[in-house]
Symmetry: C2
Subunit: 331 residues, 2 copies
Amino acid sequence: MKPTIYDVAKEANVSIATVSKVLNNTGRIGEHTKKRVISTMKDLNYAPSSVASALTKKQTDSLGLIIPDISNPFYSEVSRVIEDAAFEKGLTLFICSTDYNIEKERKYIELLHRKQVDGYIIASGFKSMDLMKGLIDDTFPIALFAQDSPTNNFNVISVDDYKGGYLAINHLLSLGHRNIGVIAEYVNSSKIRLHAYRDLCDMYGLPVQEKNIKKTIANITNGEKMMKELLQQENPPTAVFACNDALAIGAMKAAREFKLNIPKDVSIIGFDNTILSSTGVPELTTIQQPINEMGKEIVDAVIHEMRTPESVKQRKLFTPALIERESTGEV
Amino acid sequence: MKPTIYDVAKEANVSIATVSKVLNNTGRIGEHTKKRVISTMKDLNYAPSSVASALTKKQTDSLGLIIPDISNPFYSEVSRVIEDAAFEKGLTLFICSTDYNIEKERKYIELLHRKQVDGYIIASGFKSMDLMKGLIDDTFPIALFAQDSPTNNFNVISVDDYKGGYLAINHLLSLGHRNIGVIAEYVNSSKIRLHAYRDLCDMYGLPVQEKNIKKTIANITNGEKMMKELLQQENPPTAVFACNDALAIGAMKAAREFKLNIPKDVSIIGFDNTILSSTGVPELTTIQQPINEMGKEIVDAVIHEMRTPESVKQRKLFTPALIERESTGEV
DNA sequence: GTGAAAGCGCTAACAA
DNA sequence: TTGTTAGCGCTTTCAC
C-alpha cells in the first residue's frame, strides 16, 4: 500500500498535522522534527495524495485545455507550449479534442467540471460558449486562445489578426501582385484579416473583387478545392493569401495540379508557421504567431483569474511576423 | 457554491446513501424516489465530484500518457487516437511531453503518481524504465506503445517492425534498387527493421554495406545530415529507407540540395505515414502503422491490467502496410 | 512548536 | 428499499 500521512506521522512520532506542515511549509516546526519528518518521508517513499489535498483545498492544480484537434499541427504545437507553461507553474493539463463538435464539447466540459479543474483554456473553434456559461459560475477562470467571444467577457490571448493580414497582403503587394485572392475561414480571425486585405486594396486603389475571396473550413482538402475555384475563374489571382498553413498546403496542391509553378506563376502565403510550412517544396512563406509568448501569457491569465476572480478582463493581441520562404515571389 | 450530495439529499428528502446509489446505479432504489432524486439533481444542476469519489474509490479514472513531444506529428496523431479510445472508456489523459529528458520524465512520473493516475501508457523514447519500477508497485498498470523493455515485463503494443522493414526494403528491391541506404534511429525498433534489411539483402545476394547504414536521433535536420553523408560517399545508394517520416523529409531536403530528382535519381521511403508524408512534394511513400487499432488496444491493455493486476503480460505486434506515393520509383 | 479534531464530498458496509 | 456510519488522505483552525 502506498504510505499515507498517517504512516509517516507514526513512524516519525509526530502528529499528522505536523507532517502536513512540513509538507506545505506552513506553520512553525522545529528544525529537528522537520528533519526527522523529511527523512522518514524519504524512507517510506512517501508521496502526498493530490486527490486528498484537492478535496480539502478545493483546488486540483489542473486545467482543461479545449482544442479542436490535437493531431492538427497548429494545435499540437500550441498545446506543447501551453503544457510547458502550465507545468512550470505546477499545473497539469487535460487536453481535449472536440472536432468542432458541440456534443463532444458538452461532454468534455461536463467531465472537466466534475474533475474540478481550476480553470479552462479554450482555443479557437469552440462553439458552446453559451453552454459554458450555463454550466459554470460566472467568475470561473476561463481564458480564450485565438478566439473571440464578443458577447461574453473573457480574458483573451490572441494574435493581432489585422496586423497579420496586413503583413501578408502587404508582402504580396510589395512583390508587385495586384490581383490577390484570399482563402479564409468562417471565423472571426479571418474576418479581421480580410479587413486588412480590403483596407490595403483601398490604399492601393485596387478594386476588391468578392470572387477572389473564398471562405471554407480549414483543412488541406478545402484549401485545394478553394484554390481550384480561384484558378478556374477568368483572370485568376497571381497571389493567394491562405488564412492558415493547412489551407495553404492545399492551395499549393491545387496549383501544382494546374501545372503552375510556385512562386513563378502564382505566389502563396500561409498563416501560423506550423511545421507544415517548412517541410514541403517550395517551403511556405507564412505569418508566424508568437505562440511561445502567447502560451505563457494564457496560463498566466488563467492563474490570475484563479487568484482574483473579479479582476478586469483583458484582450492581449500579440504581434505576428512575416516569415519569408520560397512560396512567394515577384509577379 | 457547487451543490454537493448533501444538498440534493436534503432537497429530495432522502439520505446521501440513496443519492449515491442512484448516481452509481448500485443497490436497489424505488422507481419513485429514483425519479425524484434525478429530477432534483437536475434542478440543482448537481454534478458529482470526481475528486471526492476518487478519494473513496481509490481510482481516478485517469491515465498518464508519456510521450517525447506532443508537437511531433507522429505523437500528436497517436495521442489523438489514444485520447479518443480513453474517452470512450471514461478515462481522461494527462499528456506529458518529456523531450527524451530524464529529468522531465522523473518529474512527470512523480507528478502523475501523486495525482494517482490509474495507469500509464508510455510511448517510445522513454528512458527511465528503471526509475519507474522503483517509484511504483510491481503490478501497477503500465503499457508500452511502440517501445520494448526487454529487461522488464510489460504489456506492449507495437507495430511489427520486422514486417515494416521488410515491406519497405522489399518495395525498394522490387523497384529494381540494389544499392539501398538506411537512415535508422538509435532505438530498438530501428534495429529490428534493420534485421529485415539485412535478411533481404542476404536473400538477394547483396552485400550489406555498413557505410550505407546511418544511425541518428530522429528529426528532420538529422535526416538531412545523414542523407548528405550517404550521398557524398562514392557509389551512393539509389534508394533510401528512412526509419520515420521526419528523417525521410530531411532526406528529401538533402537530395534536393544535391539537385537530385526524387524519385528519378533517388527513391526515398519513410515510416509512420504521418501528415508530413502527404503534404510535401513529391508525396512520401511510407509504411503505415495502424495507429487507430493500436490506440484502442493499448487503452484496453491498461484497463485490463487495472482489473486483473496479476494477468500475464503480452506483446501485440500490429501489421503495417505499404503506402505507395510518389517518392519511390524504378531505379 | 505540536497535536486534537473537524471537515472536504463521496462510497460501501451494515442496519433497519 | 432506505438510512447510518465509518472511512478515504489531507488541510486547517484552535488549544495546549
